[in-house]
C-alpha cells in the first residue's frame, strides 16, 4: 500500500510537470508570437486583431481562424488569396507570404489563437507547420 501511494505520488508529480512544461512552452511561444505579430501582422490586422471591416478580416473572435486552423497556417505560410467568409462577412483580399520560418509561424499562431478573447486547447508546433503543404 505504501508503495502504491509512493507510485501514485510520483505519477502525479510527473504528469503535473508535463502539464506545467507544456504550459510553459505555450507561454514562451505566445510571447515570441506577439513580437512577430507586431512586426508582420498588426499593420493590417490591427492592434487588437480587429482587422479593418471589409478589407482585412478580424482575427479576434474569428470563426474562420477557430474552425480552419490548417488553412490559416497555410495562408501565413504560402499566402492567402480568394474569397473567405469571416464572422459572416466576405473578404476577397490577397495576403502574400511574409517569409516567416516554421517556428515563427507556430509562435504567431499560438499568439493569435490565445489573444483578444480567443482560446485554443492545442498548441501549434513547428512540426505542425512543417507538415502543411501548399494546395
Amino acid at each position: 500500500m505504501k508503495l502504491f501511494k509512493l507510485l501514485l505520488h510520483f505519477a502525479l508529480i510527473s504528469s503535473s510537470t508535463v502539464i506545467y512544461s507544456q504550459e510553459n512552452m505555450l507561454q514562451k511561444s505566445i510571447e515570441k508570437g506577439q513580437e512577430i505579430y507586431t512586426d508582420f501582422c498588426m499593420n493590417c490586422h490591427m492592434v487588437n486583431g480587429e482587422g479593418v471591416k471589409n478589407t482585412f478580416p478580424p482575427l479576434a473572435k474569428s470563426d474562420y481562424l477557430k474552425n480552419n486552423q490548417e488553412a490559416s497556417i497555410r495562408g501565413i505560410k504560402y499566402g492567402q488569396k480568394g474569397e473567405i467568409t469571416v464572422n459572416g462577412i466576405k473578404y476577397n483580399g490577397n495576403m502574400t507570404p511574409m517569409g516567416l520560418d516554421d517556428k515563427e509561424i507556430a509562435d504567431v499562431m499560438n499568439f493569435i489563437n490565445n489573444s483578444w478573447g480567443n482560446l485554443s486547447e492545442t498548441i501549434v508546433t513547428k512540426e505542425d507547420v512543417a507538415a502543411i503543404k501548399k494546395d
Binding site: 499566402g79 476577397n92 517569409g99
Partner: protein, 375 residues
C-alpha cells in the same frame, strides 16, 4: 465624491495615455461623377510593386514575391537573372525604373530586399542591369543598406530620377524607429541620391561629415513608398507611411531633416503617443499629413493632355481604403481631396506612362489603365 474622484482619475488617465490627434485639414470626398474609368491591361497579379514602360509599349512588372515579368503582346514572360531576393514582411522585389536615356544605354534599376553581407536578415539594395532577351544581364550592385535585420517593416524602395540625371531612392526606418532615422551615420529613414552609375555626387549634403553615409540626401523619414519628380519644378516629391495617422507628403530638399520620430502627427498603433510635438526648429513640416492614415503607396503628378479634369493633380494610392486619392495642391497647399475608383482594390502604384496615360498597380487585380469614359 468618491465617484467624482474616480471619474476624474479615469479622464486624466485617458488624456495622458490616449493621445489626441488633429484630423487632416482637408477631408477626402467622393466625387459626384468621374469622367474616367479603369480597364485591366495586365490581369492577375499579386502585388505589382513596380512597373515600367519600354519603348515598344511593353510593360515590365516587379512582383513583390520576387518575380520579374515582361508583359508583351498580351503575354507574360518571366525574366530570369535577378539576384536572390530576400522576401520578408513588407520586403521583397520592389521598384523598377528605367534610366532616362534607356533607349541608348538599356539600364534598368531595381530595389529589393537583399540578405547579402554580414548578419541574419536583410536590407534594401539597389542594382542596375540590362534586359537581354528573357534574362537580366550586366548586373551592377549600386547600394546596399546595412545592417541586415530580420524586421519585416519599412524598406522604402521607390526609385526616381530628376532632370539632371541623379538617381534617388528611399530606405525606410527598418522597424528601428528610435535609432535609424535621425542618425546620418546609419542607413534607414533616409532618401538617398547617387549618380546613375552608383557613385556618390560630390555635392551630396553630408560628404564632408566623418562617419556619415555619404549617399544620404535627406533624413528623418519613416517609410516613403511613393516618389515622383515634379514635372515643372523638377523637385522630388515623396509620400510616406505614418504609424496610426501621420502619413505625409514631403518635398525633398538637400540635407533636410523631416523629423521622424521626433515630430509626427501620428501615434502608436496601440493609441499611446511616442512624441508630444508636431513641430520643431530644424525639422521640416510636411506639405500635407493624413489623419487617419490612408497607407499611401505610389505617386504621380498629372501633366499629360489625356486628363483635362485632373491637370496638375497629385495622385496617391491608398492601400488601406482601396482607392486612388486625387489631391489638388496649389502653392504647396492641399485644397481638395477626392476618392477615385473606391473599392477597386489596394492601390500599390500609380504612374503616368510615356504614352500620357495613367496606369495603376492594384493588388490581387493587376495593372489598370485609366481612360476617358465613352458615353
Amino acid at each position: 465624491m468618491k465617484q467624482l474622484t474616480s471619474i476624474l482619475t479615469i479622464t486624466l488617465m485617458c488624456l495622458y495615455s490616449c493621445a489626441q490627434q488633429e484630423p487632416s485639414e482637408v477631408l477626402a470626398e467622393t466625387p459626384a461623377e468621374i469622367n474616367y474609368v479603369t480597364e485591366i491591361v495586365v490581369p492577375e497579379l499579386n502585388i505589382p510593386w513596380g512597373m515600367e514602360f519600354l519603348p515598344d509599349s511593353s510593360i515590365v512588372i516587379t512582383e513583390k514575391t520576387g518575380t520579374l515579368i515582361h508583359f508583351k503582346d498580351d503575354k507574360k514572360t518571366i525574366i530570369e537573372g535577378l539576384p536572390e531576393i530576400y522576401v520578408r514582411g513588407q520586403g521583397g522585389l520592389m521598384d523598377i525604373k528605367l534610366h532616362p536615356d534607356y533607349k541608348n544605354n538599356g539600364w534598368i534599376y531595381f530595389s529589393y530586399g537583399s540578405a547579402n553581407g554580414d548578419g541574419d536578415g536583410g536590407n534594401t539594395a539597389i542594382i542596375r542591369g540590362k534586359l537581354n532577351g528573357n534574362t537580366l544581364s550586366d548586373i551592377e550592385h549600386l547600394y546596399k543598406g546595412v545592417p541586415n535585420t530580420k524586421k519585416g517593416q519599412h524598406w522604402g524602395s521607390r526609385l526616381e530620377f530628376d532632370k539632371e540625371g541623379y538617381l534617388y531612392f528611399s530606405i525606410g526606418d527598418r522597424g528601428n524607429r528610435d535609432v535609424n532615422p535621425q542618425d546620418i551615420t546609419r542607413d534607414g529613414g533616409k532618401i538617398y541620391r547617387l549618380h546613375a552609375d552608383g557613385s556618390i555626387p560630390e555635392d551630396n549634403p553630408f560628404v564632408t561629415e566623418s562617419d556619415a553615409k555619404k549617399a544620404i540626401f535627406s533624413y528623418g523619414h519613416r517609410n516613403p513608398q511613393g516618389m515622383v519628380m515634379h514635372p515643372e519644378t523638377g523637385k522630388i516629391w515623396v509620400n510616406e507611411h505614418g504609424p496610426k495617422g501621420g502619413d505625409e507628403i514631403n518635398i525633398v530638399e538637400k540635407g533636410n531633416n523631416y523629423g521622424w520620430p521626433v515630430i509626427s502627427y501620428g501615434i502608436n498603433y496601440s493609441g499611446t503617443s511616442f512624441t508630444e510635438i508636431t513641430e520643431k526648429e530644424g525639422m521640416e513640416q510636411p506639405v500635407f499629413y493624413w489623419v487617419p492614415s490612408i497607407a499611401p503607396s505610389g505617386m504621380a503628378i498629372v501633366d499629360s493632355n489625356k486628363y483635362p479634369d485632373w491637370q496638375d493633380s497629385v495622385l496617391v494610392g491608398s492601400l488601406k481604403f482601396q482607392y486612388l486619392e486625387r489631391l489638388v495642391i496649389n502653392d504647396n497647399k492641399v485644397t481638395k481631396r477626392e476618392k477615385l475608383f473606391e473599392g477597386l482594390g489596394r492601390f500599390r502604384n500609380i504612374k503616368q506612362a510615356p504614352d500620357g496615360y495613367l496606369y495603376a498597380g492594384v493588388e490581387g487585380l493587376g495593372i489598370v489603365k485609366i481612360i476617358p469614359k465613352t458615353n
